[in-house]
Structures are given as structure tokens and as C-alpha cells.
């Protein structure tokens, strides 16, 4: 509960944040809402030498409809996602996932960029961004690059972001009027998901299915998606939910129970 010593700098701009990251190398961590990083520091699971606070970069908090895409600034709070009219109309799956995160205090402080960059394999927003085929925009010393959500999560709490990069924006294909569902099973109302599923219909009748709590990273239930594309009824396709997954086996739930939950939740989500 008492973190190791660290120094603190507050970035006044994206460029300043990048400069600080470059200066400190791997010793620095970005602080956004702090809802994952600060507890990890208090438990000494994380001991960054420097915290670069980007919490006041207001220019990174926005939701914009940009042609056929929705652009969400990395510092947009979960609470904003829950209530933003553009999100509600164009990517309602994102709002449905945001609504299931923690409590109002957490949702007011926590940010979409912070959550995705933290790359927890059970993060609600990760499922939504994966199912929406989002693209994550990162600024680094050598410029800007775009990382498809499917390539972003590389391991438990590991992402494709380099230590000197800053996630600035999430771009999501607009999906107005298309069916979606978010199902989450947790031990306590405010807990992380044991297993969660995000489902998003696509133009042309395809359906994307993303799972959390089912492996080292958030992932797509490819077998279910292919079965659905081949015309398999949802009630049957759901039995493929855990195919290819290696769900964790721990004190929260066994891997076999998680696999069972994935089937149940995928079934429920597809029925909506």
C-alpha cells in the first residue's frame, strides 16, 4: 500500500509528454486516470522511476464523427463514453461496455486510452474496441502510427506500444443502427470480468465477437465468427466460443468454468 519512491512531472502537451518519455527511457510511465497504475504501484507490482502525468491534456479528450469513423481522444473518460450522443448513435457498443466498468467514481477518472494501454486481459473496453475493429493511434519520437486493435494486445498487460510512445486516439468504424451486445460475468458487481463478450454486427451481415478473461489478451472468437458467417445458427455457434482459447486457471475461476461461461455469454449476446 506504500509505493516505492518516484518522481513526478506533468506534461503540458503531447510533445512534452513524448520528450519526458524519451528522456527517462523505460523508467517512465504515463499517468492518465491512474486507476490501474496507482494500485499497482501501491502493491509494488509497478515501480516506475518517473510518472509523466498527462491527465490535464484536455486536447486528448474528445469524441468526433469523422466521415465514416468515430475518433475518440485517448483521455476521454469512461463516463463520457457512457453519455456522449455521438457514441450512443454511432458506436453504442462502446457505451455499453463503458457502463459496466467499476462505479461512477472510477468511470469519471478512468480513461479509454489508459485502459487500453494498460492491456488487462479482462478490460471491458478492450472487448468493445476489438469487436468494432478499432485502430489505435500512437505518437512517438519518429511520428504517428496506427495499430489495428487486433495487433495491439500482445500479452497480459503488454501492448504493441513502445515505451516512448503515447496512445492519443482510438478510431472506430461507425456502426449506427447495427446490432450489438455486451455481456459480462463478474464475481462482484464492481469487479473485473471473469469472462466478458462484445458482439458487433457489421454491414453485410458479418458479426464480430470479442472475448475478455479468456486468454492472455482480449481476443476475437474466430471460430464463432466463421461459423456464423457460414450460416451456423447462433445457438450452435456459441459452443465454439472457447475454441482456441487458453483461459486462465486461477483463484477467480477455473479454465473449464471460464470456457463454459464464454459459451453461455456468447449465446446470450448473440440472442440480442
Amino acid at each position: 500500500m506504500i509505493p516505492a519512491g518516484f518522481s513526478y512531472v506533468r506534461a503540458g502537451s503531447v510533445q512534452e509528454a513524448l520528450a519526458e518519455l524519451s528522456r527517462h527511457g523505460g523508467a517512465a510511465r504515463l499517468l492518465a486516470g491512474g486507476h490501474s497504475l496507482l494500485p499497482a504501484m501501491k502493491l509494488r507490482r509497478a515501480e516506475p522511476g518517473v510518472l509523466v502525468d498527462i491527465g490535464r491534456l484536455r486536447e486528448l479528450s474528445y469524441v468526433r464523427l469523422d466521415g465514416d469513423q468515430v475518433a475518440v481522444g485517448a483521455l476521454t473518460s469512461h463516463r463520457t463514453l457512457e453519455r456522449d450522443p455521438v457514441v450512443a448513435e454511432q458506436v453504442p457498443l462502446l457505451a455499453a461496455a463503458a457502463r459496466r466498468i467499476g462505479d461512477p467514481q472510477v468511470r469519471n477518472r478512468g480513461t479509454i486510452g489508459g485502459s487500453l494501454a494498460h492491456a488487462d486481459p479482462a478490460a471491458d473496453l478492450a472487448a468493445a474496441v476489438l469487436a468494432l475493429d478499432g485502430v489505435l493511434v500512437a505518437h512517438g519520437p519518429s511520428g504517428v502510427r496506427e495499430i489495428p486493435a487486433g495487433e495491439f494486445f500482445t500479452g497480459p498487460r503488454q501492448s504493441a506500444l513502445a515505451a516512448d510512445e503515447l496512445l492519443t486516439e482510438i478510431r472506430l468504424p461507425a456502426a449506427a443502427g447495427l446490432a450489438h451486445a455486451f455481456e459480462k460475468f463478474s464475481r462482484r458487481a464492481l469487479d473485473w470480468a471473469v469472462v466478458g463478450v462484445a458482439v458487433q454486427s457489421r454491414p453485410g451481415g458479418r458479426t464480430a465477437v470479442a472475448l475478455i478473461g479468456m486468454g492472455p489478451t482480449p481476443l476475437r472468437a474466430v471460430a464463432v465468427e466463421e461459423a456464423l458467417a457460414a450460416g451456423t445458427p447462433a445457438a450452435e455457434a456459441r459452443s465454439l466460443a472457447a475454441r482456441g482459447c487458453e483461459p486462465p486457471d486461477n483463484a477467480v475461476a477455473s479454465s473449464s468454468y471460464r470456457a463454459h461461461l464464454a459459451e453461455v455469454l456468447v449465446g446470450r449476446a448473440l440472442a440480442l
Binding site: M1, I2, A4, G5, P39, L43, R44, F185, R187, R188, A189, L190, A251, V252, A253, S254, Y257, H260, L261, V264
Partner: protein, 767 residues
């Protein structure tokens, strides 16, 4: 005022963040103490290297066991004396190995990480099965095996009675380990100035703590001052004698500066003692009606790595309460307390009695299920009837006070709409799309009102009484000093209500103070549901004596006889003469004017009373839980929770309800969520609130509470206590409901905590 739901006097400060807890207290020159805890569950300590830690900025010093070798042992089981820090070996993860003191808490924490402890691992025995295995090595050195205590509670067995019973069944039940997890973890601030220390500590019995500290330091008790300021919950776990209670004053003495220790949450989960952790092997004999004829019980308690003087024998209390509220003619009980490589266990809300209530209430349901009878009917044929009170149980000295167990059950069934629920249950079973419905009952009785003295002496207390000093101020307001040390119970409020009735002083004009050994006369403390049945009676008696003296002075002022006066709102009046009236304030002021008092009357209006209960009290009631279970996931949702509680006289219905709610929440938590777990190497699996499943508000149901008020004849107030009732009754109400929901699938038991996965597996394996 007794019986009024007045708001709590405590709340104005506490709810606005203006309470004073140990960590809020600062002293000039304050130093901070942090432990180095063992990361090994069972190992020899081969070396402790403190050099790097000592060299860090702000570090005042690092101490290990040998630095405290001169200090007499901690309060211990006789013959099993414990030191303050691990010496040659560690017995569990979290055992303190060294202390670091620094000028800043953060520097102290960094320095603690820099202390290098080298271990030579020993075989780890994290379960009682491992610790009792034939080749198990003894964990705690003075003991030759890991069986720390084996006790035949009853001299006889019930083999003949079981043989003679038309039916018999066996069960193995598990009452799992729980953490107290109060909002405020353990904390101590010690400042040794002049001849002795002042110690602010989050404790439940400041006078007992004072006695133990004085004894260790060879001081007369008046030189030691222990203050329990606002205490943010305790649930029994703050009644154990943690080493910091002695190390902080000792280090303050050595360093000449105040020393503070405040536990972190993660530390609390491994360092402060846990509760429960009991395996129950039961055999019961019964007839065709479900009448229980004999009960045979063997309890195995996991005492953890270092036996605690209370924890080692808590199963005695479980044994005494095995019969529950039933007329069971023959009970045989024995228990074993086993040392394992886990955090020690001791008192936790109910301390031994909830385990008994859980056992017998599960057994009654098993009997009903075996006979194909309704669990309510089997309860009815076994309940002790009101006409049998006081009821002598098969255990000597365990005599239940007045209660109406059948009336509590009837009221519960009525409020539940039990018949309607059974119909709904059948309807849902027939509909594959519906969630399964289950109803669980728990007709419980527990022990409250601890003493009396002969019993409480066994737990190391000077007595089982409680004390109160009631003192009128010259303006007629009153200050009460009471020997309890509440930590959320609301004694300022309830005790003021009792005093208001006796004194005729308005509730608002009464202050209740406690928790400071330099201010309060000798006291015992707050535990064992003893606030109202013991302290309440002490206050009542002292207030009555003050009121009697006030009447004499008033009579003198009104030139009448004491018997001719009647009480009126403002004070006293001569019967039938409205103009002959004197206010209590005038009487109080007069009590300080020696020349205007009746001859021979002492100055002031003040009295100190010590109330010794003649017996324990036995709070009881009936709880009902309605759950629905998701057929696909095993998730249990508590739809309704209904309590009928009989705590005797209810002093404040609102705070009484709060006590029930809090206790029920902890009981539901035990049934559905909580379990302190270790892996095979004795490493804690859930030593943070992220992993340890304390439920939040959204996980708990609304509570429907009803009271039956059967006054106890064992004390003048007629109160029985209720701090532990909810936690005693609730776990089995929930488990019975879950098993009831799944009974048609052949499910007979689900072990606590009934996680969705466990429930799902039970359904899966059954079908």
C-alpha cells in the same frame, strides 16, 4: 428514551470525516514503524542482513527478535509462549521478522524492503490434513506435534443413543477462514514520556491492553495510559494482542520519541489474525418425525502457525452451542486445534458460536431432506418451547434465557409468505427458462452478554462485569464514563438513552465517554455482544443511584418527603401541587452547595456502578433467505433476506437494525464470497481487497427486519445483545436456500463460499 430510534450521537463527526482515528493523531518528533514480514510459510531463518536498510536516509534503526529477548513473552497459551518477532524460524507468511523505524512512513517502507532475510525452507503444511499427516514435523517448537489441543468437551459418547435412533446420517461441513477486514486496519501510536507510555491503539479492551503492557514493562498500571480513540470497526480481530502493542512503546522508550505503526491493507490480510476455519464431522440420530435424538460432533480447528490464547480454545464455545434452539437430549462433542503454516486464527464476529449455528442448521435441513419433510416442520418438532425457559442445555452452565423460538419461526414464515414461495419454487422448476428458486431457514440462538466473571476470566480478563460512572454537571447535564470500548456499535447513543430514562435528563444533555484508561474507571471492553446486557445495566444502575440522590435533594428543596415527589418533565414536583416544582438543573446545582444540603449528604450527584451479569444471555431469532440461481452460470442472487430478531429489550430500533444489517452482510459474505486461501506452499492467494471477495453494497440485498421482544430475566434491562446475531444466523440461511434450490437435482451440500463455479459444478455433477 428506551425504544426510540433517535439518530446516533456519533454520526455528526464520523459522517463528516471529523472522527479521530489512530492514524489521525500526530505527535511532535513522530517516528514510523514498519514490519518486515516473512514471505515464507515455514523456514529457518539463517541470516538477517540489516546493513543496507540502516544505511538508507531517514532510517533510525532496525531490530530483530534477539533485540527484544529481554522482554517477557507476549500474552500466550501457557507453555506455548510467543515472542514479538520470529526468532529462529517463521511459521507463516506474514509473520513479523524485523521492525524498521524511520522518520517517515514511506522511508520506513523502503527500508523494510531493503532488509535481507535468508531462509532455509522447511516442509510447508498449509492445511490441517497436511499438518496431521503421520510424517508431519511439528511447526511450533514447544509442541511435539501439530495437535496443539485435543479436548473431550463432553465426558460421554452418544454411541448407544445413535444406535437406538430409527435414522442416522453423517455430514462433513466446512466453516471456512474469513478475514475481519474492518475499514480501519490495526494501528498503534506509543509515546513513552516520563515514567510510562501513552498508547493510542485500535483495540476493543483498553484496560486489558493496559494491564498486559504494564506487566511486560514491570510498571504499575497507573503509569500506563491506553486510549482507544475512534475505532473503525473491529469484529473481534482487534481483541488479539498483536506484537505492535508492545513493540511501539518499547521502541518509543528506547528512542525517546513517539512511534506509530499503522497496518496497510495488504498487511492486514496476512498479519492480523483471521477467524473461523473449522471442519465439522457430524453424526445425528433422529426419528420418523425428524426429532433429533442424539448428536455427535468432532471439530477440527485450524489455529494457524502460532497458537493464540483465545483462538486455541474457541471451539469450546462452538461445542456449548451445538444444540442450537432445539431440544436435543444427548450431545457428544470433542475438538482438536491444529497448528498449520498459515496466519493464526482467533476471534471474529461471533467467535465460535456462528460455527455451531451453521452446523446445527445445516444438520436440521439434512434431516428434513432425508425424511422428505419440510425444513420448517422439522424445526418445529425440535424447537425448545417458551414454557421450558430458562432451558438447561446438555452443557453444564449453559442455560438459555427467555425466548419464544416457535413464535419467531412463525413470524418469519408469515413474512416470507413461505407457502407462496414453495408454489413459486415448483412453478420455476417446471419452467426450464426460469431461474431456480430456493428458500433457506435459520432458527438460531447464540451467546451474548459476556461474562459472567468466572467464564471471562478464562479468556484472561479481570472480570466479566462492566462499569459506569454517571455524573451530573452543575447545570443538570450529564457525563457518563463507561468501561466498554465501542467501535461502531453506537454506545454514545444507546447508553445515553438508558441514562436519560433513569435520570430524567434529556438525551441531548448526556455525553458518553469511553476508551481512555486515564479517564475511565476500570472497565472490560466491547466484545461478545455485551454492550447492552452488561454495560447497559451498569449505566442503568449508576443512573438510578444518582436519580435517587437527586430526589432526596429535591425533597429537601421542596420541603417534602422523597416519596411525595413525582417526576415531571423538568425535574421533581410535590404530588398534586403543580406550583411546588424544582428543575433537575436546580437540584444539580444545589448538590454542589454543602451549606444548603440536608445534613449528612455528600457533595455532588455522581455514582460509579459495576454490573456483574448472573449468566450469559442468549439472543435468538429466525432468518430466512430467498435466492434465485442462474441455471446456466450457477450465479446466486439473493432476492430477499428476512430477519426476525429477539435481542430482548431493544434500546434503539434504528441502531439495532444497523447491527442486524451489518451482521447479516458479513454472514452473506461468508456464504457467497469470502474465503482466505493459501496455495500448497502456504502463500496467500487473496491478500488484497482486489482478490479477497468482500461484497459491496450492490452485491447485497435489501434487508427486511422484524423484532420479537422477549425480555431476558437474567438482567434488569432485559437486553440480550445483538452485535453478533446477524453474522451468526446468516451463512446457513443462504446455504440452506442454495441447497434447497438445487435439492431436486440431488444436491445435498455446497461448500462455502458458494461461488458461481461451485454452485454450477454442484448442479453439473448432480445432474
Amino acid at each position: 428514551m428506551i425504544g426510540s430510534a433517535v439518530p446516533r450521537k456519533e454520526d455528526a463527526a464520523l459522517l463528516t470525516g471529523r472522527g479521530t482515528f489512530v492514524d489521525d493523531i500526530h505527535r511532535p518528533g513522530l517516528l514510523h514503524m514498519v514490519y518486515v514480514h516473512s514471505g515464507e510459510a515455514h523456514a529457518l531463518i539463517t541470516q538477517i542482513d540489516t546493513e543496507a536498510a540502516r544505511a538508507l536516509p531517514g532510517v533510525v534503526g532496525v531490530w530483530t527478535a534477539r533485540d527484544f529477548a529481554e522482554l517477557p513473552a507476549r500474552p500466550s497459551v501457557p507453555g506455548l509462549e510467543r515472542g514479538y518477532l520470529a526468532g529462529d524460524k517463521v511459521h507463516y507468511v506474514g509473520e513479523p521478522v524485523a521492525v524498521v523505524v524511520a522518520t517517515d512512513r514511506y522511508l520506513a517502507a523502503d527500508a523494510a524492503r531493503a532488509v535481507r532475510v535468508e531462509y532455509e525452507p522447511l516442509p510447508v503444511m498449509a492445511t490441517v490434513a497436511d499438518a496431521l499427516a503421520p510424517d508431519a514435523v511439528p511447526i511450533f517448537a514447544p509442541l511435539e506435534s501439530n495437535l496443539a489441543l485435543e479436548q473431550q468437551v463432553t465426558p460421554h459418547d452418544v454411541a448407544d443413543e445413535l444406535d437406538a435412533s430409527p435414522h442416522r446420517l453423517r455430514a462433513r461441513l466446512v466453516n471456512q477462514r474469513c478475514a475481519g477486514a474492518p475499514l480501519e486496519p490495526y494501528g498503534v501510536l506509543a509515546d513513552w514520556t516520563g515514567a510510562g507510555p501513552t498508547i493510542w491503539a485500535t483495540v476493543q479492551a483498553p484496560h486489558r491492553v493496559r494491564a498486559e503492557i504494564a506487566e511486560r514493562f514491570g510498571l504499575a498500571r497507573h503509569l500506563v495510559r491506553v486510549i482507544a480513540p475512534d475505532v473503525g470497526g473491529a469484529f473481534g480481530v482487534k481483541s488479539s494482542f498483536m506484537p505492535e502493542l508492545f513493540l511501539a512503546p518499547e521502541l518509543s522508550r528506547r528512542l525517546g520519541r513517539p512511534v506509530k505503526f499503522v497496518e496497510t491493507r495488504g498487511e492486514h490480510m496476512v498479519h492480523t489474525y483471521h477467524g473461523r476455519d473449522q471442519i465439522q464431522e457430524v453424526e445425528v440420530g433422529f426419528d420418523d418425525e425428524g426429532t433429533i435424538l442424539a448428536l455427535d460432533v468432532t471439530l477440527t480447528v485450524n489455529t494457524g502457525g502460532v497458537p493464540d490464547p483465545v483462538g486455541i480454545a474457541l471451539a469450546t464455545l462452538t461445542s456449548y452451542m451445538l444444540g442450537g434452539c432445539y431440544r436435543i437430549p444427548k450431545i457428544a462433542a470433542r475438538f482438536r486445534s491444529v497448528v498449520t503454516n498459515t496466519t493464526p486464527t482467533a476471534s471474529y464476529r461471533g467467535a465460535g458460536r456462528p460455527e455451531a449455528s451453521f452446523l446445527i442448521e445445516r444438520v436440521v435441513d439434512l434431516v428434513a431432506r432425508r425424511l422428505g419433510k419440510d425444513p420448517a416442520d422439522v424445526r418445529r418438532v425440535n424447537l425448545v418451547q417458551p414454557g421450558e425457559m430458562p432451558y438447561q442445555t446438555p452443557f453444564e452452565g449453559i442455560v438459555y434465557d427467555e425466548a419464544d423460538y416457535p413464535a419467531a419461526l412463525d413470524l418469519l414464515l408469515d413474512r416470507l409468505d413461505y407457502a407462496g414461495l414453495r408454489e413459486e419454487q415448483e412453478r420455476r422448476r417446471a419452467d426450464p427458462g426460469a431461474k431456480l428458486l430456493g428458500v433457506g431457514l435459520s432458527t438460531f440462538v447464540e451467546m451474548g452478554g459476556f461474562g459472567p466473571t468466572p467464564l471471562f476470566e478464562q479468556f484472561g480478563y479481570i472480570g466479566g462485569w462492566e462499569s459506569a460512572n454517571v455524573r451530573l454537571q452543575p447545570d443538570g447535564s450529564a457525563i457518563i464514563l463507561v468501561g466498554t470500548a465501542p467501535h461502531g456499535q453506537g454506545h454514545q447513543t444507546a447508553l445515553a438513552q438508558i441514562a436519560a430514562d433513569e435520570l430524567g435528563v434529556p438525551f441531548e444533555a448526556i455525553s458518553v465517554l469511553y476508551g481512555d484508561t486515564a479517564v475511565v474507571q476500570e472497565g472490560i471492553g466491547t466484545m461478545g455482544s455485551r454492550g447492552m446486557p452488561v454495560a447497559g445495566n451498569a449505566v442503568r444502575q449508576a443512573a438510578a443511584d444518582v436519580a435517587a440522590k437527586a430526589r432526596l435533594i429535591a425533597a429537601h428543596m421542596l420541603e417534602a418527603e422523597g416519596d411525595d415527589l413525582v417526576r415531571v418533565e423538568a425535574g421533581f414536583q410535590v404530588k398534586g401541587v403543580p406550583t411546588a416544582e424544582v428543575s433537575l438543573a436546580a437540584v444539580a446545582e444545589r448538590s454542589f452547595k454543602p451549606h444548603l444540603l440536608p445534613a449528612g449528604t455528600g457533595l455532588g450527584l455522581e455514582c460509579t456502578s459495576y454490573y456483574e451479569p448472573s449468566n450469559l444471555s442468549y439472543p435468538s431469532g429466525a432468518h430466512g433467505c430467498v435466492v434465485e440461481i442462474d441455471r446456466e452460470t450457477g450465479h446466486v442472487h439473493v432476492l430477499r433476506y428476512v430477519c426476525v430478531d429477539d435481542c430482548g429489550t431493544v434500546i434503539n430500533p434504528m441502531t439495532a437494525r444497523g447491527q442486524i444489517h451489518g451482521g447479516v452482510a458479513q454472514g452473506i459474505a461468508q456464504a457467497l464470497y469470502e474465503k482466505v486461501s493459501f496455495d500448497a506452499d502456504g502463500r496467500p492467494l487473496n491478500a488484497s481487497l482486489e482478490d479477497y471477495m468482500l461484497p459491496g453494497m450492490l452485491d447485497l440485498p435489501g434487508y427486511e427486519t422484524h423484532h420479537i421482544e422477549t425480555k431476558s430475566s437474567f438482567n434488569p434491562l432485559g437486553a440480550k445483545g445483538l452485535g453478533e446475531a446477524g453474522a451468526t444466523a446468516a451463512p446457513q440461511a443462504v446455504v440452506n436456500a442454495i441447497v434447497d434450490a438445487l435439492a431436486h437435482l440431488g444436491v445435498r451440500d455446497v461448500e462455502m463460499p458458494c461461488t458461481p463455479e461451485r454452485v454450477w459444478k454442484a448442479m453439473h455433477h448432480a445432474s
